[in-house]
């Protein structure tokens, strides 16, 4: 009834946004520029994470000592990025010189020319040639020009996260997680049968997360979201139907997915952390989030490959840094030195596992996987094993399956397509009589319109 609060809600979301919218290795002593240069860098750990913050500050000190001309000014935030504020920060001139970004948003940012082209400088990064090509392709323009717009910090692909404790309680073997969807169904039924509130398998269906996981399941079955030329939708086929039919069966025939639907990211994290959710599609970073922010314990969770994805694809995800389009060449050169030191060098920065162990931080997760089987990748894996603090065996099924799974990037216009497929996902999970053929056909029509506009 009152207008004030509604007005405030809308103003906060639209008004304020629109207001703002208007407006090398650590030991390398080579200076980045002739004169002093200051770079602002996003994703500095907040003070509420004192261990990570201390590590960051120590790294900044080491880096600045090696590069006396460069000053690194971290900008802390938790979470590292709120996509809602991206445009406003850019327009308001408060975007960092090196800004943090999720893979999902990279394509959109490149297409809209909201990041600097770093192609002529990136060659100075020594480890560039060793980085996985599929990972680097995330940060390249999609126009055959081979231009580069950023560097990765984290990389992973989707698997099946499961609660080992619940597996044991349900009489299942946590060392042998499901390899087929039939096995997932059986396991989910047993977990759901543990009692009220237990959910065998959880899945998203709102806020664009449903479409995101539809893509993950589709890729794992060998499907694609769009055609090779990116001009038309490619999910209205047997693989797409299989994804929805499987969910429909688990939801309505098996009753193993719980009655509460329209779940979004935080919902499943909370359920997983609360110890009543058996399985979900997710990468090893889910275990990290559940442990750090949702009261779960590392040792209770395991990760394996998405069932039946052997020889097929896995949706890749991750994050990295891009450069402010207004950053000067000096800032870009300095920024690349910082990224090489802090994000890409084995034993340094984020890969300083000796320090992480000393600080009591988790070591041993099989991510980030930036280098694959190249020399730096093997070195990182060896360090990870040497300083492991979490039960690495819990991730063995996921790691050993990687050799035969190809990472696949998110589709163009990812968020728009995910919004369209949220409808299909929410339909099969909330309506027993959902017509899968019609849902996919409708979604295909909508997606084609979006992609036609894109091309």
């Amino acid at each position: 009834m009152t207008t004030t609060r509604r007005g405030l809600s809308l103003l906060l979301v639209a008004g304020l946004g629109l207001v703002a919218a208007s407006c090398g290795s650590g030991e390398d002593k080579t200076p980045a520029a002739d004169g002093p240069v200051t770079i602002t860098v996003g994703c500095e750990p907040p003070k509420s994470n004192p261990k990570e913050r201390a590590a960051w500050e120590e790294d900044v000190a080491v880096f600045q000592k090696a590069h006396p001309n460069i000053t690194v000014e971290g900008k802390d935030a938790f979470p590292c990025i709120n996509p809602d504020t991206f445009q406003a920060k850019l327009a308001g001139g408060t975007q960092e010189d090196l800004f943090y970004v999720y893979y999902t948003d990279v394509r959109k940012i490149i297409d809209k020319k909201q990041a600097a082209d770093i192609s002529q400088y990136v060659g100075s990064v020594g480890k560039l040639k060793d980085l996985r090509q599929d990972v680097m392709s995330v940060f390249k323009a999609n126009d055959n020009t081979d231009k580069t717009y950023g560097l990765p910090r984290n990389n992973y692909n989707m698997g099946l996260v499961y609660n080992r404790k619940l597996f044991t309680q349900a009489g299942l073997d946590p060392a042998n997680p499901p390899k087929t969807w039939d096995e997932v169904r059986e396991a989910a039924k047993k977990i759901a049968a543990l009692g009220p509130g237990y959910v065998g398998f959880g899945e998203y269906s709102a806020g664009n997360t449903g479409g995101w996981h539809f893509a993950a399941s589709l890729y794992a079955r060998g499907g694609s979201m769009v055609s090779d030329d990116g001009k038309t939708a490619a999910f209205n086929n047997d693989e797409g139907k299989a994804v929805l039919e499987n969910l429909k069966r688990m939801r309505w025939d098996d009753n193993s997915m719980g009655s509460k639907q329209l779940l979004q990211w935080e919902d499943l994290m909370r359920m997983m952390g609360g110890g009543k959710l058996g399985m979900m599609i997710g990468a090893p970073d889910v275990v990290q989030s559940v442990n750090n922010d949702f009261k779960g314990k590392f040792e209770d969770y395991g990760v394996t490959a998405v069932p039946e994805s052997d020889g097929k694809f896995s949706l890749s995800g991750g994050d990295g840094y891009m450069f402010n389009p207004k950053a000067s060449p000096e800032k870009i050169k300095a920024g690349l030195l910082w990224l090489e030191f802090h994000e890409l060098t084995p034993g340094q920065g984020q890969f300083n596992y000796a320090r992480s162990k000393e600080q009591g931080r988790p070591v041993g997760l099989p991510i980030p996987d930036l280098y694959g089987n190249s020399a730096p990748g093997n070195e990182i894996n060896a360090l990870r094993k040497q300083y492991a603090t979490v039960p690495v065996d819990n991730f063995t099924p996921y790691v050993s399956a990687q050799g035969n799974i190809t990472n696949k990037l998110e589709p163009p216009k990812a968020q728009e397509l995910y919004a369209v497929l949220d409808v299909a996902m929410s339909a099969v999970l909330t309506r027993k009589d959902a017509d899968i053929d019609k849902l996919l056909s409708d979604a295909e029509g909508k997606a084609n319109k979006i992609l036609a506009k894109n091309t």
């Binding site: 609060r5 339909a427 909330t430």
Partner: protein
């Protein structure tokens, strides 16, 4: 209250006396000096309105005709953004859902506070306590209130289904069903906001002269007849003003679908404001978001104009 108004008005009246009299510049200075505090407050309000209301509105209008990456100067694209959003399959659903939400909110959210006010007005005991209880939800931050209902609506352990179970009724899907999701949002919205409406109605009811009710009672009118023949005619203007405010407010519904349903299931709760948010912040298309915002603004402008006319009429009464 009277004293305060008098204190404010007196210097304004003095300031209005011909300040440009050539032989009286001192008087002008004194008038300005006397009103300095008032001008200070006025300036602060004007700056706030300019920064947080008028400027965003103007920017929104500009952005709706531009393709803008906020790095290069915006490119004028005519009505392209409008064509894009109108062609969006969710556009129609968003307007229909918004209209349905406003309609349902009128049926539920408009009537409930009035009935509550009438009941509270008739009560002889515990009036202050009940007024406090009714107003209590307004004091909760909207996000907290909405998340509270997220738990109430939980199909398993939620309060509502537990209550249904207690009286041996089957559970409802609430937010998870296309047929009940929107009305579930209306219930949240009504609960969150009914306190203010109730108090405004209550104030209006208390300004009705008691002798009108006495006369009606002497004529043998019961409660319903008294409400129909005395209360409603006497509060007609307030009711109309509140109706218009209700329409303007409910058409901007955002926080409920954003926090409770993410627009689902099957777009059943996608509203215009939510779609606007999707365009601007999830798709990075401020042009499309602004175009939607402008459309909504034009629609609301009609209701706002009527509201202004009605409220002026009330002020002159």
């Amino acid at each position: 209250m009277t004293v305060t108004q008098e204190r404010v008005r007196r210097p304004q009246a003095l300031g209005a006396a011909d300040p440009r009299s050539p032989d009286d510049h001192g008087a002008l200075r004194r008038a300005v000096g006397r009103n300095l505090t008032a001008y200070g407050f006025l300036c602060a309000a004007l700056i706030c309105f300019a920064l947080f209301s008028w400027y965003p509105m103007i920017r929104e209008i500009v952005l709706s005709f531009q393709q803008n990456n906020f790095v290069d100067p915006g490119e004028w694209v005519g009505f392209d953004n409008f064509r894009t959003v109108v062609a969006d399959p969710a556009f129609r659903s968003a307007w229909l859902n918004t209209a349905a939400f406003s309609g349902l909110a009128l049926v539920i959210g408009y009537a409930v506070p009035f009935v509550l006010a009438v009941v509270l007005n008739e009560l002889k005991h515990a009036k202050a306590y009940l007024r406090f209880v009714v107003y209590l939800p307004v004091m909760l931050p909207p996000a907290v209130a909405v998340l509270l209902f997220k738990w109430f609506y939980d199909p398993g352990a939620g309060l509502f289904n537990q209550a249904l179970d207690a009286v041996h009724l089957p559970p409802l899907s609430w937010l998870d069903s296309t047929s009940t999701a929107l009305i579930s949002l209306v219930i949240v919205s009504t609960w969150m906001n009914l306190g203010t409406g109730t108090l405004i109605y209550l104030a209006a009811l208390q300004s009705i002269p008691g002798d009108l009710y006495e006369s009606a009672e002497l004529d043998g009118a019961g409660l319903l007849k008294r409400v129909w023949h005395v209360t409603i005619p006497q509060t007609k203007l307030i009711l109309l003003v509140m109706l218009l405010l209700q329409i303007v407010a409910t058409m901007q519904v955002f926080i409920e679908p954003y926090l409770l349903t993410g627009g689902g299931p099957e777009n059943a709760t996608v509203t215009v404001a939510y779609l606007m948010y999707q365009y601007a912040f999830n798709f990075g298309d401020f042009g499309g978001g602004s175009a939607l915002g402008l459309m909504l603004m034009v629609v609301l402008l009609v209701f706002s104009t009527i509201y202004l006319r009605v409220s002026r009429e009330e002020a002159e009464r």
